[in-house]
Symmetry: C2
């Protein structure tokens, strides 16, 4: 059986077909412009490649509550042409297959938990640090949605003593995203993250903020694996700094060998590489189709 | 059918029998001294009141992983005579019934979710603020354990600008528990919480710290209900202050009527009163016995 997967990001959309072993058999990439343009490419592809159902990992905010009348609908996204666009309605109408939608980070978390870095664990977190900061959470084997869905990017963090930057979050100014997202890095230092000196204070600060988020996630959820991806995490010096900050901030309080002895195997990069989002969307449709 | 419930706290232990509608039919209270003294009273009671199984909501740290060889065992508790005491071994040996153990806060969260303030919700949090600060979490219908178990009391919070108190946590000094637990209040102000002026800055600070924890829980878990209990929460002026601080800290970012319009019905006191812990332990044994 073949399933469809769509990874809809703010800059590009990937869509393809895969099997129930998590193999992506074929896929395409388009630039995110308007819903009309995207739907035309996507539907043409799936008409040539029929599938049992489609999973969508979408940028948000998006209604991810299966029983809601607006399930699959984007809400207050700053991408104007996409406001109120509903993945489920549009794809079902044109392709007549079941469609399941979750946030891009939840899909990625699900993919990593099924075939990636968190295989075999009932509790894991996937954090992405890029244009925004977000997290997908698996708690006791289930993707966490809750009242709305997790919004980890807006956690309130302690300011680094040497950081005089005010932050760029339009809601909270100096929340996690306001201080540690890619655009915050660029604004604070006047250059993009990839052009910053490898050993400068910039990365110590960045690690200090991201480690606080990891520590909050650990204290609240006690995950068995913390996965960190996204554009900003591509800087290889960042991950080791985050790990040491996590250990430092905890001060030995969470006493488990996974944390005290094997932190390198506890806070880790994604295992699914550049197809993580697409595989996550595939995991989403597989989970739903097999449980219904 | 009649089930046993034990609520083991640092100062007292309640034990009793209840039915599957959450009614406590009979119970006793003893002071927490030694395991030998407690086991003698408890076992005598359950020999006279036979039960199908026993649920224990225990102070911790305690091993709550059902498949662990040390399931039900207290570990590094500061209560020396209780170190390494194992609820499951001792109760099973003497009473020959199944025994299920969880943290006191997880049991309370489960009880509130089954018969109390969070009935009908798949996502809720029970926070207790007393000698320590802790939380029990239900995510997508399941009690969260994870790698160890949640340790919300040690969340790192932002210092209130007018607070010069250093905090009393032996690990982190000024984490949530270090700044906002009952003993922290007493140490900062020189008098116990119940003797502090009702309208003073003390309660604004307390609300500022506790609201930060609520906000972190909301951003990470998106609960449908937040329940706050424990000795410190008995001050009636505290809850309204926490609610306004939560709304203030979020700055309108989590846009849901439950938060923006009905916060009084979102952050709430426990509904099960003084038997919450015992009913939680009852909920625990009922859940396990019905799923096995």
């Amino acid at each position: 059986m073949v399933y469809g997967a769509i990874e809809a990001g703010g800059t590009k959309i990937l869509f393809g077909v895969g099997d129930d072993n998590g193999r992506i058999l074929d896929y395409r990439t388009i630039i995110t412009t308007t819903p009309a343009a995207a739907m035309s490419s996507i539907c043409e592809f799936f008409k040539r490649n029929p599938v049992e159902g489609i999973g969508v990992g979408s940028f948000g905010p998006v209604d991810v509550h299966l029983t809601s009348p607006t399930y699959g609908q984007l809400t207050t996204t700053p991408k104007i042409p996409w406001q109120q666009f509903n993945w489920v309605h549009h794809l079902r109408e044109r392709l007549d297959v079941p469609v399941y939608v979750d946030t891009d980070v939840n899909a990625a978390a699900l993919g990593e938990s099924r075939w990636g870095a968190a295989v075999g664990f009932r509790n894991s977190v996937y954090i992405t640090v890029g244009t925004g900061v977000g997290a997908g959470i698996i708690a006791e084997g289930r993707v966490v949605h809750g009242l709305i869905h997790p919004e980890v990017g807006h956690l309130l963090v302690r300011k680094h003593p040497n950081d005089s930057f005010e932050g760029i979050c339009p809601f909270h100014q100096d929340c996690l995203e306001g201080l540690a997202s890619g655009p915050a890095l660029a604004e604070r230092w006047g250059v993009k993250g990839e052009h910053l000196a490898e050993h400068g204070i910039a990365w110590d600060m960045e690690a200090y903020y991201l480690a606080q988020a990891v520590v909050s996630l650990m204290l609240i959820l006690s995950p068995e694996k913390v996965i960190m991806g996204g554009g900003v995490m591509n800087q290889p010096q960042l991950m080791p700094k985050i790990r040491s900050q996590v250990v430092h901030l905890l001060q030995g309080y969470l006493c488990h060998p996974q944390i005290t002895e094997r932190i390198d195997d506890y806070v880790v990069p994604p295992a699914l590489g550049h197809l993580a989002g697409l595989k996550g969307a595939l995991a989403l449709v597989l989970e739903r189709c097999s449980s219904s």
